[in-house]
Amino acid sequence: MYLKRTNPGLFYLQRTLFYLLVIVITLYLLLPFGWAVLTSFRRATDLFLPPLQFAFAPTTLDNYTQVFANASFRRGLFFSTIVAIGAVAVSLLFGSFAAYALGRFRFRGKQFIMYIILAVSVFPQIAVLGGLFTLITRFNLFDNPIGLMVSYLIFTIPFTVWVLTSFVRDIPGELEEAALVDGASPLQTLFKVLFPVMMPALVTTGLLAFINAWNEYLFALTFMSTNRTVPVVIANYSGASQFDQPWGPIMAASIVVTIPLITLVLIFQRNIVSGLTAGAVKG
């Protein structure tokens, strides 16, 4: 603490090393993404340039125009959006009912239900892949966004229930007791009293569930064939020939699907950190 006066040499050495570490960490975290952004603005012919020349090569928007002209990418954006929003909406509705019951009511078997929900949240997706596939084909939902959306409930519902329950527990009981005394039904209490208080929690949980649904790959790859979502489109993005990977457009497409997520995450930064740590859930 008094190092600055007693031994300024050591103090400044320590500070320098510390800031060096900060710079290394920042580069490590941001450089791969930064490089992808840079590549998305470069012409295909410039990809072979050495890094320094590449960084200062002329900028172009060609990759972005090419990506948006690609019909399967546009369709992918559309399907990703409806599937993710649908899964999140259903999970938030069901999840808030369940969280209200688990966080506020006393009944037998509650512990058991909590364990079931936790167990489902650590389920390997592969364990249900075959079973779900036969179920989805049975109901003619193969290649149908509704089938994919329903399958996503396997990870969005346990997640929302778990996080919302921990939020509901922290809401002071007086609010709800007042509503009960006034003769409100549980649903009225939930919608009129608890929802306004839970709003930040709902936004956070919804956002995290949305990110998970937007990024999901295994189910999307297996349950859809032509109506692909963006992760699958990006993974399969191919150029004119099989051996020629169009890195520029791939990076542009990657940036397009990532920017909305990063923007949302930066806006709701504080909520996200609290949502992730509430009940320590998977990302």
Binding site: F48, L102, F105, V128, G131, Y217, L218, A235, V265, T277
Partner: protein, 317 residues
């Protein structure tokens, strides 16, 4: 539906979840809780319970994905079966499965260990006061927010041997992904980059809940920062760290996206357990064998959960 549930004590039916008949307000509340939980329970049975049952069912059948109706019971032959000619047909006799298991375990152990160390370093740095702290805190969220498939493609590009920043720039044209001995480490590097920030976030939240006056007292007593870290910070972080470890290990054991996108379906089948199961199930259309593999993965993962939870007495509350 819940609006119709009785709220007045006299009209309350017995609780559906208890064996003892509880009347009055308690019983009514239990009914209401039941109705509130019903949609979630139905959804979980529909997308988790029933499909899991089907997977277990098919693991003992010889069945094809295109005609699951025509399945014949063959017991454990999907797991282990030797024909009269001495050819092993069960997946446990397939060396590729064991390669996939070994690679998945290497991947899990090293990526989780590295993520924890890096996450700890980043969390400790962000937790100390310096100019640019809030910027770094924000930068931490970037790799976490990037879709896995996108980060796989980003890194595949960087690993490219003719123009990648790492493959060409650093290694001078070495094809990391083409060689299976280097590919697994390339995969670990991608996963560590993507999830270190998640670890750092959880550890940071734990660090910020530690009482500051404790450190002041330790400073007074002349404990070095090093001692403080090992004797105070680490033991107090243990609960948060363990929960993070459990969830990260489970995620790593399920790895699929990175391998499938960066190495292709065939190599992924000998690099990730999930990749192997999916190839049997979907590409080869072997519903029986694929389900048997899925059951094996399910058992492995649940066993690890139980070991973690009992060995470390992890509390999730």
């Amino acid at each position: 539906m819940t609006a119709n549930a009785p709220t007045q004590p006299p009209a309350a039916p017995p609780t559906p979840l208890g064996r003892k008949k509880v009347r009055g307000i308690e019983g009514a509340r239990a009914w209401q809780a039941f109705w509130l939980l019903l949609p979630t329970l139905i959804a979980i049975i529909l997308v988790a319970g029933f499909p899991l049952y089907r997977t277990i069912f098919f693991s003992a059948q010889e069945a094809n994905l295109t005609s699951p109706g025509q399945a014949t019971f063959i017991g454990l032959q999907n797991f282990w079966f030797t024909t009269a000619e001495g050819i092993g047909l069960g997946f446990l006799q397939d060396p590729q499965w064991w390669t996939a298991v070994r690679n998945t375990l290497i991947f899990t152990v090293f990526s989780v260990a590295l993520e924890t160390v890096f996450g700890m370093i980043i969390a400790l740095v962000v937790n100390s006061a310096f100019a640019g702290r809030s910027f770094l805190r924000t930068a931490m969220l970037v790799p976490w927010a990037i879709p896995t498939v996108v980060s796989a493609q980003m890194w595949a590009y960087m690993y490219n041997d003719s123009f990648g920043l790492i493959g060409q720039g650093v290694l001078g044209g070495q094809a990391l992904l083409a060689d299976s001995s280097t590919a697994i480490w390339a995969m670990i590097a991608v996963d560590v980059w993507k999830t270190t920030s998640f670890m750092a976030l959880l550890i940071l939240a734990g660090l910020q809940s530690l009482p500051g006056d404790m450190y002041e007292a330790a400073d007074m007593d002349g404990a070095s920062k090093w001692t403080q870290f090992w004797r105070m910070t680490l033991p107090l972080l243990r609960p948060a760290l363990l929960v993070a470890l459990v969830f990260r290990s489970l995620d790593a054991l399920r790895v699929f996206d990175i391998m499938y996108v960066m190495l292709g379906a065939n190599v992924a089948a000998s690099t990730s357990m999930t990749g192997y199961a999916r190839q049997q199930l979907i590409d080869n259309q072997l519903l029986g064998v694929g389900s048997a593999v899925s059951v094996a993965i399910f058992i492995i993962i649940m066993a690890i959960v139980v070991i973690y939870v009992t060995a470390f007495r992890v509390k999730f509350d």
